[in-house]
């Protein structure tokens, strides 16, 4: 349920928490991004960091420069104007193409997805790569991208016992979420493929290819293409395909 008014509270001396709903939905997440990008654009003195999540936005501020009461007012002002905000101008969403090798050694859970869904591998690939996904948020580990929503036919449950080591670039599904791992980490998502792109690189600015609110499309590639792209990526010569996207 999306709240009539967002729940806003000051916490701990330098945090303001804004919650818009109690569900995971693209509709509610859009409100999070609306607030996130509106606040970023306003460049309010004393706002140090904005951290969007599925249904909430967390503001970190310097109490020497602004108080939580003042920030709550700012949030409420933006909320009251939000209906008039042009989301395309504000978020400037981008559509980013992520090449992926599906199945085989790069997607060890593909047989499970095939079995669970009753579809063929080709059908699973087609369904997964034909949607334009929205980046709900990044979190959990550096550069981990949460995308949604997955076609219900391939919305498989996560592993009951997480894997200890998942290579960066691995693409997985967990319920109605899909996404990829930015760094090597443990994780319980069902892995269906891997991208040769360095989706997260701590030495790059910004470190992540994807921003919250971006649109993402997966492009199936062959293993040969994977290694060709990987070579270019390593030489810093691969250009990620990014288009302007209007919603």
């Amino acid at each position: 349920m999306i709240y009539k008014e967002p729940l806003v509270k000051g916490i701990g001396g330098q945090i303001v928490y804004v919650e818009f709903c109690d569900e995971i939905s693209l509709e509610c997440n859009k409100l999070v991004h609306l607030m996130y990008y509106s606040l970023s654009e306003r460049n309010i003195m004393g706002v140090l960091e904005l951290i969007p999540a599925y249904s909430s936005l967390t503001i970190i501020y310097d109490p020497r420069l602004i108080t939580y009461r003042r920030l709550i007012e700012e949030v409420k002002n933006i909320w009251s104007e939000s209906k008039a905000i042009d989301i395309n101008r504000l978020i400037k969403p981008r559509l980013i193409e992520i090449p992926v090798v599906y199945g085989g050694g790069f997607g060890p859970d593909m047989p499970f997805v095939v079995k669970y869904s009753g579809l063929t591998e080709d059908e699973v690939i087609k369904i997964h790569s034909s949607r334009i996904y929205t980046c709900y948020m990044l979190g959990f580990t550096p550069g981990f991208v949460y995308l949604g929503d997955v076609d219900p036919r391939i919305a498989v449950p996560r592993l009951s016992t997480p894997r200890l080591k998942i290579p960066p670039g691995s693409v997985g599904i967990a319920g109605k979420q899909t996404g990829f791992y930015g760094v090597e980490s443990p994780g319980g998502w069902r892995l269906i493929g891997r991208t040769p792109l360095m989706v997260f690189d701590p030495r790059r600015d910004p470190p992540s290819i994807i921003r919250p609110g971006d649109k993402v499309k997966f492009k199936p590639i062959s293993i040969e293409e994977y290694y060709e792209i990987r070579k270019l990526v390593e030489k810093g010569e691969y250009e990620v395909r990014i288009e302007v996207y209007s919603q």
Binding site: K9, G10, I11, G12, G13, Q14, I15, Y17, E19, D22, E23, I24, Y36, L48, E49, L50, I51, P52, A53, Y54, S55, S56, T58, I60, D62, P63, R64, T67, Y68, M137, L138, G139, F140, T141, P142, G143, F144, G182, V183, E184, S185, F200, P202, R203, D205, P206, P207, S208, R211, P212
Partner: protein, 340 residues
């Protein structure tokens, strides 16, 4: 030009390079990292004449030994532990002049848990997202993104003036008594100030009563991500699906209640987002205090208002930006001054 300053002979159980942390990247899932006890960390810098935010060594629990490779100035702050320079005890929280060939050794932490070693010029590591802090889980920052090991050579940046000059400026500096942080030992109960957290509505007043009236003990299942506590379990007002809330940002200091009801206090290496309900949040100056509680030390939570939390945070941020120092006065001078 960087100068080799230490050859590590015994790194300790978890020693990393840290500064105040990596800010502005949490929306990309990048944790803040940085020193667990920031006040002690900035003093390790200013006591050798550095700016507060230079990279230092963070030694968890102590047990450190290194050979000094150049004439320089160091300062050891944080937990109370024996510090030996060529086998003779030297003082913490004050500049120490060391020479090439010296051996500096830090014993196990007696009171407190985290020790900082600041070096004149600051430790030289590449900046990753504007910070020298180590985040071992994703292997970046600090020294190759890892803890120190035997044989590592630590470098410092080239200082702005000579060691002699620097020493003459800082040799008699000490930390004002009223600012010196208290280092807790086993048997202590440390009061930690909090405000209510993001999920206040998910807890009953009864749960809050339990939370504020009980003491919680720091368990050994604690690390730079968070300290797990043991004590009376906190119940949620209603059962959550899978014991979790919708993932939200989890700032440092957040106190999460996992399904077993035992609180976890999040520290600088914590994940940027998480799905456990947050009952309360430790105010920034008291995160330092939590960090210094080694396993076995007890905590008690005290609720303050958000405005009070802001006041305390303001003072604390000023302190970190500009940690005051005073001159150590000779006893006679001291008596003269204070006898009127």
């Amino acid at each position: 030009m960087s100068t080799p300053v230490f050859s590590i002979e015994r790194p300790g159980m978890f020693t990393t390079v840290q500064d105040l942390g990596r800010y502005g990247y949490r929306h990309y899932g990048v944790p803040v990292s940085g020193a667990l006890d920031k006040l002690s960390m900035v003093y390790a810098n200013v006591l050798v004449g550095n700016k507060p935010n230079e990279a230092v060594l963070e030694v968890i629990g102590g047990g450190f030994k290194a050979k000094v490779l150049t004439d320089t100035i160091v300062a050891v702050t944080g937990a109370e532990a024996p510090i030996l320079l060529n086998g003779s005890e030297v003082r913490s929280w004050t500049p120490i002049r060391v020479s090439k060939g010296d051996v500096i050794e830090i014993g196990l932490a007696v009171k407190g848990f985290i020790i900082y070693i600041g070096v004149f010029g600051g430790i030289d590591v590449p900046l990753i997202m504007d910070s020298g802090s180590t985040y071992t889980r994703a292997r970046f920052g600090g020294l190759d993104g890892r803890t120190l090991k035997v044989g590592d050579i630590i470098h410092t940046k080239k200082p702005s003036r000579s060691v002699n000059e620097q020493w003459s400026i800082i040799e008699d500096l000490v930390v004002p008594k009223d600012i010196m942080p208290y280092m807790p030992g086993i048997g202590d109960i440390v009061e930690i100030r909090v405000t209510r957290g993001q999920h206040e509505e998910l807890f009953t007043e009864e749960s809050y009563k339990t939370f504020y009236s009980s003491t919680y003990i720091v368990t050994p299942q604690s690390d730079r991500m968070g300290y797990r506590l043991d004590g009376p379990a906190i119940k949620l007002a209603k059962e959550l699906k899978g014991g979790r809330v919708i993932s939200l940002a989890t700032p440092i200091g957040s106190i999460q209640i996992p399904p077993d009801g035992k609180p976890i206090i999040l520290l600088p290496d914590c994940q940027t987002t998480g799905g456990y309900a947050i009952i309360a949040t430790v105010i920034p100056p008291d995160v330092d205090k939590v960090a210094q509680c080694k396993p076995g030390v007890k905590l008690k939570f005290k609720e303050i208002s958000v405005s009070e939390a802001e006041e305390e945070t303001k003072k604390y941020l000023n302190l970190l930006e500009n940690p005051p120092l005073e001159k150590l006065l000779e006893e006679e001078e001291y008596l003269y001054l204070y006898a009127g």
